[in-house]
């Protein structure tokens, strides 16, 4: 007997590769965004700093990849499964909501890691990407960020009744987060009011934490970000498992 969630992850991963548009949005779109901005601003160190635009923005684009996978891909695919009756078929088997959610999550996580690796390769090859932090601390910051964005994505993924509503909800969550959290545009360019609003999104905290650690900070320097991200992990898991809808 194989483990159910390994089997779910495997088939979801295969399905993902057979879906060109999702593939484009997670792997290619963040890369193009990064290359576009990098071509405008280059990667020469900012005055008085050891890092330039690309060094600063690579962690932010990692946040973009996470949001695209864990909110867009996860929600739209689960909502479509729900509407079509795929979840109903899973429910007839001895499958638990967590095996389905975690299986889906591992598949999109693998894609996320691939997207991140593409960003790193492009940064290193074209812009001599600098990493100023501690590798293990960054891995921790990355995983916590991924966990909290995924847990947030679990909520609409568990509840959206139809494919259409799934797409709408995912867009409503995704686009404001995309522009306000620093994922697409540098956060420091936002007006103060927008900066304040952006703090409701876990993605803002995730990006700030990853940027901080990437540029040489320690994760314990960011207790607020850590607390918010951890809170989202638990809230998302609780809501999604408690209120999961099969049909």
């Amino acid at each position: 007997m194989k483990s159910p969630f390994i089997a779910v992850s495997k088939s979801e991963f295969i399905l993902y590769l057979r879906e060109p548009s999702a593939f484009f949005f997670t792997l290619v779109f963040p890369l193009l965004m990064m290359l576009l901005f990098a071509s405008m601003w280059g990667n020469d160190p900012f005055p008085g700093e050891e890092y330039g635009y690309v060094d600063f923005s690579v962690p932010a684009f990692m946040g973009l990849v996470m949001a695209t996978s864990f909110i867009m891909s996860l929600t739209t695919s689960m909502a479509a499964y729900r509407e079509k009756g795929v979840l109903k078929r899973f429910r007839a088997a001895p499958a638990t909501p967590s095996s389905i959610l975690i299986g889906q999550l591992s598949a999109v996580f693998a894609i996320t890691v691939a997207g991140v690796i593409l960003l790193l390769i492009a940064g290193i090859v074209f812009y001599d990407l600098r990493f100023l932090g501690n590798f293990f601390e960054f891995v921790f910051a990355f995983l916590l960020s991924a966990g909290s964005i995924a847990a947030l994505g679990f909520i609409p993924a568990s509840l959206a009744p139809t494919a259409r509503s799934g797409v709408v909800i995912a867009n409503i969550m995704y686009f404001p987060m995309l522009f306000l959290s620093g994922a697409a545009l540098p956060w420091f360019m936002l007006p103060d009011l927008m900066k304040k609003i952006s703090l409701v999104f876990p993605l803002t905290h995730a990006i700030k934490l990853m940027q901080g650690v990437w540029l040489g900070g320690h994760f314990w320097d960011y207790p607020v970000h850590l607390a918010v991200l951890t809170g989202f992990v638990f809230a998302g898991l609780f809501v999604s498992v408690r209120y999961f809808r099969w049909e």
Binding site: M1, I14, K88, A92
Partner: protein, 305 residues
């Protein structure tokens, strides 16, 4: 000890304000083929879904293999298989991938290659789900219902939309399931199918159980009379036929005559009489009552009304 694998007592299930099932009780014995028949919307699917752990809320009690479909849902699903009327798998999953995926949910899964072969799907194993015909999809879902080597197999409207040939091949398979020692609970709105396959049939209408017995006993009790048809030659007078013992009625519409008889012995007398009268028997035809007649007599309407 009774050997009931399913016991349903006073099951009631509402969808918003519609009562889909309105107080149904019955038991299914180990090893039998149990049919739930009735028109669309009678509550067949809801009943099966409640038994198979697909609903969290209903009133009444259900016991399946000693388990409760709500609180022991996962443990129950390891021991049963459900073929649903309306469920799907992702379009771009290949059959072999789907079978491997669903095998992973069971501790002792059957060999999916053998199942695909048995269901005539082996040559489709590399096809996408979306490329299957309706009948092939149906067979795939039967295969998926069997993959966990279930003690009870639930087949919901398992032949609707299939062509006659595909229906016959699935009928054979259902017989094999019983021979393997499995209990089969099926629903259908085809009365001929239920009559042919089932050891016992529950007739369901408007969410209530209208009758439950073996097809032959149901027919004996509610089927009505056997009918005899023949075309008479011109100027035929059937008075002598209607006086025969066991003949309930005689109707002569043009040349087409119909007799209803309450005993098979009357048929012999009818044939003899016709022979004496010099009537040819070319068009002579006997029609025994079927489950279709049982449904009509019990509910007052055709099953496909």
């Amino acid at each position: 000890m009774t050997d009931n694998v399913v016991t349903v007592r006073n099951l009631v299930k509402h969808y918003k304000d519609v009562k889909a099932v309105d107080g149904i009780s019955f038991s299914v014995k180990r090893g039998e083929i149990f049919g739930i028949v009735g028109p669309n919307g009678a509550g067949k699917t809801t009943t099966i879904d409640c038994i198979a752990g697909m609903h969290r809320a209903y009133s009444g009690s259900i016991d399946v293999l000693g388990l409760d479909p709500v609180s022991d849902s996962i443990a129950l699903k390891r021991r049963i298989g459900l073929q649903q009327q309306e469920s799907e798998i992702p379009d771009r999953l290949r059959l072999r991938e789907a079978m491997e995926l669903f095998s992973s949910f069971y501790k002792k899964a059957l060999d999916w290659k053998m199942l695909l072969e048995q269901l005539n799907l082996w040559e489709k194993k590399d096809s996408f789900y979306s490329a299957l015909s309706g009948g092939q999809k149906k067979r795939l879902f039967v295969a998926m219902a069997l993959i966990g080597d279930p003690e009870i197999v639930f087949l919901d409207e398992f032949t609707s939309g299939l062509d006659p040939q595909a229906r016959i091949s699935i009928w054979k398979l259902v017989g094999n399931l019983r021979d393997q020692g499995r209990t089969v609970v099926l629903s259908t709105h085809y009365m001929d199918e239920a009559e042919r396959l089932c050891d016992r049939v529950a007739i369901v209408d408007h969410g209530k159980l209208a009758a439950l017995d073996s097809p032959s006993d149901l027919i004996a009790a509610h089927g009505g009379h056997t009918r005899v048809y023949f075309d008479a030659s011109e100027g035929f007078d059937g008075k002598s036929l209607s006086l025969l013992e066991g003949v309930e009625s005689f109707v002569n519409r043009g040349d087409a005559c119909t007799l209803e008889v309450n005993a098979r012995s009357a048929i012999v007398e009818i044939v003899k009489t016709l022979d004496v009268m010099g009537q040819g028997l070319d068009s002579f035809r006997i029609e025994a009552p079927t489950l279709e007649d049982v449904f009509l007599n019990i509910t007052g309407r055709q099953v496909r009304d």
